[in-house]
């Protein structure tokens, strides 16, 4: 079962296109997917995920269990940065502020990793709940707060950056594209339900996996370029953090899922969320909130190391963990 799972994940078209992009970038191909096209696809993907989750949520009532999972999701997003920060300060030579910013990325999540896990579960015939999309949305932002707390602890109070405005960080954090689109589409899916969805599913459901292939080709190119440009900046401690941190997050979450008795599918998704790291929303927030933290450090780690690991070996592993915890 497990060898088969790894095999079928690794040989799925979406992973193969990711590997194609990764390989091309590492071999210094100049090919690119135009940024604005890729950004358009990213918006499409988030709309599609949100709608799907919302429609499924519209079919079932809100049970206490859902609130329980939501609480866990929140705690994971808020708490994991502290764990990550300690690990980084011990195992790498990263400065306090770089460690805090990096830690924030690992409390937050990668929506593409989440989607890839959904696909792998579908392929394996394991059911998942629609409300897990809401958990993903819920885990995006809190980690940013923790990163700020960590960074400002013991920092001498500095003046305001020239030109900064009250509310700009709030808007960047709570009204960034992924929050707006994901939460908005979730709500729209919930409101319109199956009936509204039927008309738009030929665009948002049927071609979804294919679009994901094209998008992951671009993600592979980005991850490969990020790694090639940035790895020299990272010591071995930092680089290994990009793989050990997801594993620790996964282990921790597996234990929680076991204790809560979550279904295999939902557990696999929650473990994947905990193990994944942000590379869109959090970096953008960090440039505003902690401009002195170096983007080449946290982007290289989350996009160049953790994302490829999760997409290839991580996801089948997390599914196995969930099967073990749920079985």
């Amino acid at each position: 079962m497990s060898a088969e799972l790894i095999f079928s994940t690794l040989l799925s078209p979406i992973v193969l296109f990711f590997v194609l992009g990764l390989g091309a970038a590492l071999m210094r191909s100049q090919m690119t997917v135009p940024q604005s096209f890729a950004k358009g696809l990213a918006i499409y993907l988030m709309m599609a995920i949100g709608l799907k989750g919302g429609v499924e949520m519209s079919k079932t009532a809100l049970t206490p269990e859902i609130f329980g999972i939501a609480a866990i999701a929140l705690i994971l997003s808020l708490g994991m940065p502290f764990l990550a920060y300690m690990m980084l300060r011990v195992t790498s030579k990263m400065s306090r502020i770089d460690a805090a910013a990096t830690a924030g990325h690992y409390g937050s999540i990668s929506i593409v990793t989440f989607v890839a896990a959904t696909q792998a579960l579908e392929l394996a015939g394991i059911v998942t709940s629609g409300y897990m999309v809401a958990m993903a949305a819920l885990m995006e932002v809190p980690a940013i707060m923790s990163a700020l707390i960590l960074a400002r602890r013991g920092m001498k109070k500095s003046g305001e950056v020239a030109g900064s405005e009250k509310g700009e960080l709030f808007r960047e954090v709570f009204l960034n594209a992924s929050v707006v689109v994901l939460v908005g589409a979730l709500a729209i899916g919930w409101i319109t339900g199956e009936a509204g969805m039927s008309k738009i599913s030929p665009f948002f459901v049927t071609p979804f996996q294919g679009v994901l292939c094209l998008f992951l080709l671009d993600m592979g190119l980005n991850a490969g370029r990020g790694l090639r440009q940035g790895w020299r900046q990272l010591d071995i401690g930092a680089l290994s953090f990009g793989i050990t941190m997801p594993l620790i997050g996964a282990a921790l979450t597996t234990a929680i899922c076991y204790a809560m008795g979550l279904s295999v599918g939902d557990a696999a998704l929650l473990i994947t969320l905990a193990a994944s790291a942000s590379y869109i929303a959090v970096p953008a927030a960090m440039r505003l909130a902690l401009p002195k933290a170096q983007p080449s450090i946290y982007l290289t780690l989350s996009l160049g190391v953790t994302f490829p690991f999760n997409l290839t070996l991580g996801i089948p592993l997390y599914i196995m963990l969930a099967q073990w915890a749920g079985g």
């Binding site: 950056v161 020239a162 030109g163 980005n222 990020g226 869109i280 953008a284 401009p291």
Partner: protein, 101 residues
């Protein structure tokens, strides 16, 4: 022709709105912003479109203004460069319409 100052401010895109406010508060009458597609600094090259967060993108402000306000402008921008990545340069230019700047 009238002599004015031309400011060229290359700054990371996440700080763009802050730079807008700094220039507007200093009293310039206008500026224009251009998107960069790549560059080099700190022994590292960057290229637009290699990360979706666009957090490493840079933009350039071009701003023509009267020499009067130069001290105000540069003091505030120095503060901005205390936190954000970028470079700034100033030169003299000739313009046709004095009152426009």
């Amino acid at each position: 022709m009238f002599t004015k100052k031309r400011l060229e401010l290359i700054i990371e895109k996440p700080a763009m709105k802050r730079a807008c406010r700094v220039l507007e508060d200093a009293g310039v009458k206008g500026y224009t912003i251009f998107p960069a597609m790549g560059g080099y600094g700190n022994s590292m090259r960057w290229q637009r479109g290699t990360d979706l967060s666009a957090s490493r993108d840079m933009v350039m402000f071009i701003c023509v203004f009267d020499a009067d306000i130069i001290t105000k402008v540069s003091a505030e921008l120095e503060n901005l460069f205390g936190s954000h990545i970028g470079v700034l340069s100033l030169s003299d230019v000739a313009v046709l319409r004095d009152d426009k700047f």
